[in-house]
Amino acid sequence: MKRLTKRWTRLLVLGGVLTALAPAPAVAKTDIHFWHAMTGQLGEALTAQAKEFNDSQSDYEVKPIRKGTYAETLTAAIAAYRQKNPPHLVQVFEVGTQTMLLSGAVHPVQDLMKEQEIAINWGDFIKPVVGYYMKDGKLYSMPYNSSTPIFYYNKDAFKKAGLDPDKPPKTWKDVESYAKKILAAGAAKCGFSTGWPSWTMMENMHATHDQPFATKNNGFGGVDGVELLINREFGQKHVGQLAAWQKDNVYSYGGRAGTADPKFVNGDCAMYIQSSALIGGFTKGVKFDWGTGELPHWGAPYRKATSIIGGATLWVLKGKPAAEYKGVARFLAFLARPETQMWWHVNTGYLAVSNTAVKNLEQGYHFVKNPKQYTAFAQLTGLPATPPAALAGKKAAPLKPERVATANSSGLRLGNFVQIRDAIEGELENIFGGKKTVKQGLDDAVAKSNALLKDFAATHKP
C-alpha cells in the first residue's frame, strides 16, 4: 500500500514537471463565446465561418456553441445574463427583437464598432434587413441569417396538369385555378401548403398587400397601446379563403414551423410557401424538378408591396471584460465583408445582406446560374422577379421596381411576439378545423395578442 502511494506521488510529480515544461502557446487567445441555434448544414457553415476567422488572426478564438432552438438559445442567454456570465454574442430570431431592444442588456453593434474604431459601411446594407433591427436611427444587432418567404412549386406536377412549368402563379386566383387543375389531373393530393403560418400567411400577406398588421406603425412607434389589426377586411378575406380552400384540398394546412415541409418534399402538395432559406435543403432533398416564384397577390385594390424578413441577427451582450469586445468587433467586421456574405449566401441560401455582396454575386452570374436564389432578393427589394438580362452581360434599361416599399412592408416590432405568433397560429387552426368562424377566430387572436402586448408594455415601462 505504502509503496503504491509512493509510486503515485512520483507519477504525479513527473506529470507536473512535464506539464510545466510543455511548450505553452506564445500568446493565449481570448475566447469569444457565440451562442447560436443553427443545425445541420447551417450549423456546419457557421462553424466553418468561425474557423476561418480564428485562422485569420491570432488574438481571438470565436467559439460557436449551439444552444438548441431559437427560443431555447434566447432563454439560455437570458439565464446566463442573469447569472452574470453571458456569452459575448447570441443569435436571436426576428420575433425576439423587441425583447432584446428593451432589455438593457445589449451593446448596440453600431456603438460597438464606433468605440472599437472599426469601420463597417452600414449604408451598404439592404434596407429591409437593417430597418428591422434599427431603433432611433441606430443599428442594434448584426444582420446574420435573413430570409423571406417565397413560393415553391413542383414543376413535374405542373407539367402533368398541363401547366407551364416556367410560369409560377402570380395571383391567388391563379393559385386556386392551378390547384384545381393539378387536383383534377391527379398530379398531387393537395394544391398548396404553408410553413410558419403566421409569418407567411399573416405577417407577410399584410406586408405585401400594404396592409397594417398592428397600430402605431406596426409597433415601431412605441410599446404602449399597440394593437393588432389582422381581423379587418383584408385579414378576414385572406383567412376566409384559406379556410374555404382547406375544405376542397386546394389548401392543406400542415402545422406550425416547418412541419409541413414533407408535404411538398414527398410530392403530396404541388405548391408550398416557406422561407427562402430552404432552397439549400430542397436542392439536396427534393427528387422532382421544382422552381420558385414570388408570393401570390390578391391584385387590385391592394398595392403590391415588398415582403418582410425573418431569420436572426447577432446581439452583443453587456457584462464581459471591456478588452474582449475588441475581438467581438473584429469578428463582426469579418462577417460584414462582402466575401464572407457571398460565401454564406451561396452555402446556406440565406440572403447576402449588403449591396456590394449582391452586386458581386450578380457580376459572377450567380443569379443567372441560380435563379431560385434571386426570387427572395427581388421580392424584398421590389425588383422584377427574373434576373435581368443586364446581369448576363448585356446592356439593359434601368430596372423598374414592381413592388413599393411602404411603412406597412418594412417590418414588425411587437413585444411578446413569440406568444402572439402562437396565439395567431392556434386560432388559425381553430378556423381551419371548423371550430370557429373566420371572424370569431381572428377576433380571438387579436384579443389574446392585445392582452400580450399590454402585458409587455406593463413589464417594460421605462
Partner: protein
Amino acid sequence: MKRTVFPNRWLPYLLVLPQVAVTVVFFFWPAWKSLYLSLFKSPPFGGRDVFVGLDNFTSLLTTSEYYDSVINSFVFAGGVTVLSVAGGLVVAVLANQKIRALGLYRTALLWPYGIAPAVAGIIFLFMFHPSYGILPYFLSFVIGYEFNWLLKGWIAMTLVILATAWTHVGYNIAFFLAGLQGIPESIMEAANVDGAGPVRKFTAIIVPLISPVTFYLVVVNMVFAFFGSFGVIHAVTQGGPGNATEIMVFKLWKDGFIGLNLGSSAAQSVILMAIVIGLTMLQFRYAEKKVTY
C-alpha cells in the same frame, strides 16, 4: 414491534439530513421561489421586478384560455390514469398466469417504461403524423375519414393520452404483478373449490386484495399525468391544434420559457401545485377508505 433507540442524540438528525437537504434544495426552495416570482412582473433579462400583488393570478383567472388548459389537464390526466391503470391491471393478470416463456413476456411488458416520454412522443409522431405517418397512410385505404389531428382537437387529445398511457403502463404492470403475487395461493384455491370462474375471482378476490396497489398507482399516475407528461405533448402536438392539448404544465412551460413571461408562469405553477396537492389529499381522504390493507 421493536423500537430502535439511538444512543447518540445527534446521530438520527445527521442520518436524515441528506434527505432533508435534498427536499429543501430541490423542492422547498424552488417552490418558495415560484411563490415569490408569482407576485412580480419581471422583464426577462431581469433588473427591475415590479411587485404586482395578485395581478398575475387575476389575469390568468379571467382568461378563458387558462380554464381551457385546466379542463384539458383533467381530461388528459383522467384519460391517462384510467387507461394506464386499468390496462396495466388487465395485462398484469394475464401475465400472472402459468404460461410458457413467462419471464420473457414480463420483461417485454416493462420495456415501454424504459422509454423516455420525449422519445415515445417522437415514435408516436412518426407513426401518426398526417403528413408523413405510416398509420394514416394505411388507414386512408380502409376508411375515408382523415384523422388529421393537426386540425381536429379531440383526435390530438386521444393521441397524446394513448401515447402517455403507453409509456406508463409498464410501471403499473410491475406494481400489479408484485401485488398479484402477494395474493395467497390458498385463497385462490378455496375460490376454485367453491367453483368461482375467472371473472368472479377477478372481481371478488383480486380487485379487493390489490386495492392498496391500485390506490397507490392511481395517485402516482394522476400526479405523473399532471406534472411529468410534458415530454409527449412537447414532441407530438405542442399544445395544438388551437390549444386543444395544452395542459397546464405545458402552458406554464411555454409562457415561461418560450414567452419569457416569468410572473405568469410562476403563478401557473403555484396554481398547479395547489391543484395537485388538493387532489392527492382528496384521494387520501375518500378513496383510501375503500382500500383494504
